[in-house]
C-alpha cells in the first residue's frame, strides 16, 4: 500500500513535466505559414513597437523584448516577477497549451535575444515554444503574408509557474562542483583580453568551457544544422548526460547554447545562469581566471 502510494505521488509529480513538446524548437517560415490558422498558435513578435507597426507576420501579437527581460536593481536583463510576466503573456493571448513562436528581426545579430525570450517562456512553464529561424527578415524575404494593423489578442489564461530546473543563480553555480560550466561569450572575453562594462573581472569562471554563442548561426543568419551543433559540443568534450550550466555576461548570449542543448539536442539537465558574470564576477570572493585556456 505504502509503495503504491509513493508510486502514485511520484507519478502525479512527474506528470506535468512529462508533457512532451508538440512543436519543433526551431521552425522555418514555410512551416509557420502552413500553421498560421492553427487556433493554438500564438506568434509573438518581440521587436520594437514602431517596427511591429510598420509590418508584421499576419496575426502576430507584439510583445516587446523589454517586457520579457527587465532591469532589476542594478542587474540587467533579468526575468520579470511572476505576476508581471503573467500579465504580459495573458495580454498576448497565451494559454498553457499554446504553441508559441518567437520572432525577432533576424537570427544573426539578434539570435541570442530570441533564444533569451524562448528560454524565459520555457522557464515560465510553457511547454511549446519555438523560434522562427531567420526571424522576420527571412519571413519578408520569402514574401510571406504580412499586415500593419496591430493585433489585439483575446486575453489568455496562462499563469506563470517557474520551472527551477532551467535556472541557476550564483549560489547554485558556486555549489555545483560536478556540473560542466559553459562560457558562451567570445574567445576574447573568455581569455580576458577584453571584457564587457557590466562584468567586473577579466577572464572566465574557473573550469568553464569556452563555447561562443556566435558559433551557432550560419553566415546568412540561420541556425546551423542540428548535427553540426551537436558535433561542436562533442568535439569540445562536453557530456550530454552531465549537468550543464551556461553563462555569459548578462544571461542573454548563454541562452543560445541553453536553447540548443536543452531544446534542440534534448540534453536532460541544462540551466541558464540568468545573473551570469554581471553577478558572479562582482563577488570579490570569486576569482575569474584570465590568460589561460581550459
Amino acid at each position: 500500500m505504502k509503495k503504491f502510494l509513493i508510486a502514485l505521488i511520484g507519478l502525479s509529480v512527474l506528470a506535468p513535466m512529462a508533457m512532451a513538446r508538440d512543436i519543433a524548437s526551431v521552425v522555418d517560415a514555410t512551416w509557420l505559414e502552413a500553421n498560421l490558422a492553427n487556433p493554438r498558435l500564438v506568434v509573438v513578435d518581440m521587436r520594437k513597437v514602431e517596427d511591429y507597426k510598420a509590418g508584421h507576420i499576419t496575426g502576430a501579437v507584439n510583445v516587446i523584448g523589454a517586457s520579457v527581460y527587465v532591469k532589476a536593481g542594478d542587474v540587467l536583463n533579468e526575468v520579470p516577477q511572476a505576476d508581471d510576466l503573467t500579465d504580459v503573456l495573458q495580454a498576448a493571448g497565451i494559454n498553457a497549451d499554446s504553441q508559441v513562436v518567437v520572432v525577432d528581426t533576424d537570427t544573426s545579430a539578434r539570435l541570442a535575444w530570441a533564444t533569451r525570450v524562448g528560454w524565459t517562456l520555457k522557464y515560465a512553464g510553457l511547454e511549446n515554444v519555438a523560434i522562427l529561424d531567420g526571424g522576420y527578415a527571412a519571413w519578408t524575404k520569402a514574401s510571406k503574408p504580412v499586415q500593419t494593423d496591430p493585433v489585439a489578442a483575446k486575453s489568455g489564461s496562462f499563469v506563470v509557474k517557474f520551472n527551477p530546473a532551467f535556472f541557476a543563480d550564483k549560489a547554485y553555480v558556486m555549489a555545483a562542483k560536478k556540473a560542466q560550466i559553459v562560457d558562451a561569450r567570445t574567445y576574447d572575453t573568455y581569455f580576458g583580453v577584453s571584457k564587457s562594462a557590466t562584468t567586473a573581472q577579466f577572464g572566465h569562471y574557473a573550469s568553464a568551457w569556452p563555447l561562443p554563442s556566435t558559433w551557432i548561426a550560419t553566415a546568412d543568419g540561420f541556425f546551423k544544422p542540428k548535427a553540426d551543433l551537436e558535433s561542436i559540443a562533442a568535439r569540445l568534450g562536453l557530456d550530454p548526460k552531465a549537468e550543464t550550466i551556461v553563462y555569459c555576461d548578462t544571461g542573454v548570449a548563454a541562452s543560445t547554447w541553453w536553447w540548443i542543448m536543452s531544446e534542440m539536442l534534448g540534453w536532460k539537465s541544462v540551466r541558464n545562469f540568468d545573473g551570469s558574470s554581471q553577478v558572479l564576477a562582482a563577488d570579490p570572493s570569486v576569482k575569474y581566471i584570465a590568460g589561460t585556456w581550459r
Binding site: K48, V49, E50, Y52, K53, N62, I64, A66, S67, V70, K71, L76, N77, Q81, D83, D84, D87, V88, A91, P150
Partner: protein
C-alpha cells in the same frame, strides 16, 4: 540614400506637384548642381507662412508653440537672471543654444531632424506624413523621454509602450501645434496629457489599488508610486561643454505643489553655467535644482506598489540632505519630503 525622393509623389502628392522651387527656391533651369542650388532653402518650413498658405490655423498656432519658439527653456532660467543678465542671455545664449533646437513643421512631417550633425534623411521619400514618432519625436527627445519610454535607458519599458502606444497617442496636435494664445511654458498648456485624463484612480480593478489611490489622492503623485525605474538626471552643465547624466529615481516634495510627494528630475544648470557668456545668474537661489517630472517609465507594479513600507518605513528613493549637490541652490532644502507626524 535617405535623400532619394519617391518619384511617384511628384505628381500624386498635392505638396510636391507644386514643383520643388515653390518651397526650396533655387534655379530649376540651371545646368549644374551648384548653380541650381544658388539661393536654396534647406528648411523651407522654418517660414511657417509657407505651409500657412494652405494650413492657415495650424501655422498661426504653431508660430506660438513651444516647439517653435522654445520659450519654455528661456522662461525656465529667467527668474535666475537680473535685468542685464536677461538681455545678454536673450542675445547670446538663447538663439545659439536653445532656439537652434526648435522644430520646423518639416521636422515632424517630412524629414527626421538633424541632431549633432546626424540626420536620418527624408521620411518615406519626401511624403508629407501625418506622423512617424520613431523618426521624429524620438530623434530630438532621444536624451531622456524616448529611451526611458522604450526601456533602453533604465531597463524597464513604459507600460503604455508595452501595450503598443507611442508618443502621439498621448501628445495630440492640439498640444504640439500649439495653443491659440502663447504660454510661458508647458505647465501652462491647457491641452496636454494627464494620467487622470485617461484613468479614473477610483475605478481600479482591485480593492488594493482603490484603497491605495483613495488614501493618497493629492498626497502622492501617480508617478511617485508608478514610475518603475531610474531615469536620466543631468548635472553640471557648462555652456559649450555640456552636462553629465546620472541615472536616478528621486522622490521629494513637489516644487510646484508643496506637500505632494512626487518624482523629481535634477536639471543641469549650475551657478556658472553661463559664465563663458559673461552671465552671472544673480538670483540663482530663487529656483531649485530639481523639478517635478513625469518619467515615461510607468508600470502597474513597482517596489512601492508592492510594499507600503518602501515609503512609510524605508523612505526608498527619498531625496536626502546628503544627496543635494554641493554649492547647489538654497531652494533645494524645501524639496526634502517630511511625513506630517
Amino acid at each position: 540614400m535617405g535623400y532619394v525622393i519617391d518619384a511617384s509623389l511628384t505628381e500624386s502628392d498635392v505638396h510636391l506637384s507644386q514643383g520643388c522651387v515653390t518651397c526650396h527656391s533655387g534655379n530649376e533651369n540651371a545646368a549644374t548642381r551648384d548653380l541650381a542650388h544658388v539661393g536654396l532653402v534647406k528648411r523651407p518650413s522654418d517660414d511657417t507662412d509657407l505651409c500657412g498658405s494652405c494650413h492657415g490655423d495650424i501655422a498661426t498656432n504653431y508660430s506660438k508653440s513651444l516647439h517653435f519658439t522654445t520659450v519654455g527653456m528661456k522662461n525656465g532660467v529667467r527668474p535666475r537672471l537680473s535685468a542685464t543678465d536677461i538681455k545678454a542671455f536673450d542675445g547670446k545664449v538663447f538663439v545659439q543654444s536653445c532656439n537652434s533646437c526648435h522644430a520646423s513643421c518639416g521636422d515632424c512631417h517630412v524629414k527626421g531632424p538633424t541632431v549633432s550633425g546626424i540626420s536620418t534623411g527624408l521620411i518615406q521619400g519626401h511624403r508629407f506624413v501625418r506622423k512617424d514618432d520613431a523618426k521624429t519625436c524620438a530623434v530630438c527627445h532621444n536624451g531622456r523621454v524616448y529611451p526611458e519610454f522604450t526601456g533602453e535607458y533604465g531597463g524597464n519599458a513604459d507600460v503604455h509602450y508595452q501595450k503598443g502606444m507611442t508618443c502621439t497617442d498621448c501628445h495630440k496636435p492640439a498640444e504640439l501645434h500649439g495653443p491659440e494664445a502663447s504660454v510661458p511654458g508647458r505647465k501652462a498648456l491647457a491641452e496636454k496629457p494627464s494620467c487622470v485624463g485617461c484613468h479614473k484612480p477610483e475605478a481600479a480593478k482591485t480593492d488594493a489599488a482603490k484603497t491605495a489611490h483613495a488614501t493618497h489622492a493629492g498626497k502622492a503623485s501617480c508617478s511617485a508610486c508608478h514610475s518603475s525605474s531610474e531615469y536620466r538626471n543631468c548635472y553640471g552643465c557648462h555652456l559649450g561643454a555640456g552636462a553629465t547624466s546620472v541615472p536616478g529615481l528621486i522622490l521629494g516634495d513637489n516644487p510646484r505643489k508643496a506637500g505632494q510627494l512626487t518624482t523629481l528630475r535634477h536639471i543641469p544648470t549650475v551657478r556658472d553655467t553661463f559664465a563663458p557668456a559673461g552671465i552671472a545668474q544673480s538670483n540663482y537661489d530663487s529656483l531649485p535644482n530639481y523639478w517635478d517630472a513625469v518619467p515615461h517609465n510607468t508600470k502597474k507594479r513597482t517596489d512601492r506598489t508592492r510594499d507600503c513600507a518602501a515609503c512609510h518605513v524605508a523612505q526608498a528613493h527619498f531625496l536626502k540632505e546628503s544627496d543635494l549637490p554641493v554649492g547647489g541652490s538654497k531652494s533645494n532644502q524645501a524639496l526634502i519630503f517630511k511625513f506630517d507626524k
